[in-house]
């Protein structure tokens, strides 16, 4: 029983707790997404499903602001027909959702949710015998590869998406799967490069040490805002989130790679998407937003410092960490419902012609600063600002592709014929907003 150390026992317990928190969080994120989209689109959203299950005895649980909706959805997903179309590759078709959901559910384990704990419960006076006097880390796995693990696991999700699209034997699914896999592997590179810029500044891959460095030197987002921005863009594109959700662009591809899926297998794709968002948000918080630490607020500052090891500190850190994750996820939801989807060629060009070169230059700049031994917050911020300024100056100088321009449709009110009279005034004030340019048709290029 040499391997059954207190750390292993703690890690297993933390994993069990966190995986359930994430599953419940995913269910309510779907609810939150529906509510947010409803309010953004001036609707109400799900508001009447309670926990009464139609029973008269539970009538007092009716309503509940619609909070029963995720449970109802879950039961419905279970009980609906899990249909397999006749022409699909049956084994891969069933296997693909499992391959998608497994990596999404195991990525979080190296996140240091609660710092360290000295193994003392104030309300329990007996011998806990969990720890032999030393502190244990409240994390899913205390391994020395640290955050490289998350990167390795997050990359596995692309297999399931590709397989699901291919196995469906449906053109929509196939194109969706192809698009998704190309997009995911493209944005993995800026993700890795932004992470590299952060790692160069920290000089370690251990989550605990990264948080400690951020507490003493200032949050990563202060020192490297450009790296944080690239990282945020990359995790949204990795998770196939809007505005990068071309894999399931409804107008073009129906449902993308999960067009043919129904019931629980569809739900697994959905669950994986949201679990992926939660995990990568936790990753973002760890690298750039100080992990579980809260600066400036007097009481909370000491309670969430890595040196506080009481059980209350652990709970406070858990709360702070999940609070930060929720803020990041909320930002992603709001972005999804307010920014229109990019075109697929725009997404891919952005990855290869813009984000990757910028990230490469950023890595070189940061490593030069580190070679000079001047890796202070100010210098890193200056490097980030310099790269950003260089990008903004150089971007207009690069020749743009002449293809895929907006073609003028002659005779329409936006491109009138030379001698055509166009009505530029409307009786409706709203219609004036997209009033065409007065005059003749533009010269064809």
């Amino acid at each position: 029983m040499d391997w059954l150390t207190p750390q292993v026992v703690t890690s297993v317990i933390v994993n069990l707790v966190v995986v359930h928190i994430i599953l419940v969080m995913v269910a309510y994120l779907v609810q939150a997404e529906r509510k947010f989209s409803a309010y953004i689109q001036d609707r109400i959203g799900p508001n009447r499903t309670g926990f009464d299950f139609g029973l008269p005895a539970l009538k007092f649980l009716k309503g509940c602001l619609g909070f029963g909706q995720p449970l109802a959805d879950g039961i419905k997903f279970m009980l609906k027909e899990d249909f397999t179309p006749s022409r699909v590759d049956k084994v891969l078709f069933s296997l693909a959702p499992v391959i998608v959901v497994s990596p999404a559910l195991i990525g979080f384990v190296v996140i240091p949710w609660g710092g360290s704990w000295d193994g003392v419960l104030p309300w329990f006076s007996g011998d806990l015998s969990l720890t032999g006097g030393t502190a244990v880390r409240i994390t899913g796995a205390d391994v020395n590869i640290g955050i490289v693990y998350i990167l390795a696991v997050a990359a596995l999700g692309v297999y399931g998406v590709t397989l699901g699209g291919w196995a469906s034997n449906n053109k929509y699914s196939f194109l969706g799967g192809l698009r998704a896999s190309a997009q995911m592997i493209s944005y993995e590179i800026p993700l890795g490069l932004a992470l590299l810029a952060a790692l160069l500044a920290y000089g370690t891959v251990l989550p605990e040490s990264i948080i400690r460095l951020q507490i003493s030197e200032g949050w990563g987002v202060v020192a490297q805002p450009l790296a944080a921005l690239i990282f945020f863009i990359a995790i949204m594109a990795e998770g196939n989130r809007a505005p990068f959700d071309n894999a399931e662009a409804e107008q073009e591809l129906v449902g993308g790679y999960h067009t043919e899926y129904s019931s629980m297998r569809f739900a697994l794709y959905f669950l994986a998407e949201y679990a992926h968002i939660v995990t990568s948000s936790a990753f973002l918080v760890l690298l750039f937003f100080g992990g579980y630490h809260v600066p400036f607020i007097p009481g909370l500052k000491d309670l969430t410092s890595p040196d506080a090891v009481s059980v209350w500190a652990v709970l406070a850190k858990f709360g702070v960490y999940f609070g930060k994750v929720l803020l990041s996820v909320t930002l992603m939801i709001v972005i999804r419902w307010t920014i229109p989807r990019l075109r697929y060629d725009q997404v891919m060009s952005m990855a290869w012609q813009f984000v990757i070169p910028v990230a490469l230059v950023l890595v070189v700049g940061v490593s030069l600063v580190i070679y000079a031994g001047q890796a202070t917050t100010w210098n890193l911020l200056m490097v980030n600002g310099l790269v950003m300024a260089m990008t903004l100056i150089a971007a207009p100088l690069i020749p743009k592709s002449t293809m895929n321009r907006k073609l003028p449709l002659y005779g329409s009110r936006f491109s009138p014929m030379p001698d055509e009279r166009v009505r530029t005034q409307s009786s409706e004030s709203l219609a004036l907003e997209d009033r065409p340019v007065e005059g003749s048709a533009p010269v064809a290029r």
Binding site: W3, Q7, V8, S11, V12, N15, V19, K80, E81, D82, F83, P85, S86, R87, P97, V98, V101, L105, I106, G140, A141, D142, V143, N144, Y149, W166, S168, N169, N170, K171, S173, F174, I185, S186, E188, I189, G192, L196, L200, A201, T204, E208, E260, S263, M264, P306, D307, M348, S349, I356, P357, L360, V364, S367, I370, G373, Q374, S401, M403, N404
Partner: protein, 133 residues
Amino acid sequence: MIESFTLASDLSGYLPISLIVLMAIAFGIGNVVISQMLGPRRAGAVKGQSYESGMNAVGTARKRFNVRFYLIAMVFLVFDIEIIFLYPWATTFPNLAPQSDESLLWLLRILFFLFTTVVAYVYGFRKGVFKFD
């Protein structure tokens, strides 16, 4: 106090990971199996068709597709392997003495390594690999 415990250099740290991996796979398979058992099953000739917006399906999806996706995959391999090699460097390089000869050597080596990738990138750019229109 925190520094007193050592880093798990043995494999026992991976035990919780293997447990959660098993759990995640069991979760996926279990959910699929349960919903297969609970849900109804009604087959039909038309129902079994693949969905093409309500039209009769034309051919299969096992077709040739745009070669650009292969190009992306190949360029991805170049870059991804490069990044993987950069991680060990990125954890060691900042801990070297700044402006020392050893540090300079490490920096120049990795800059040359990055330069080879930039050459590949420029070649791909000139060949139009990164044009998506």
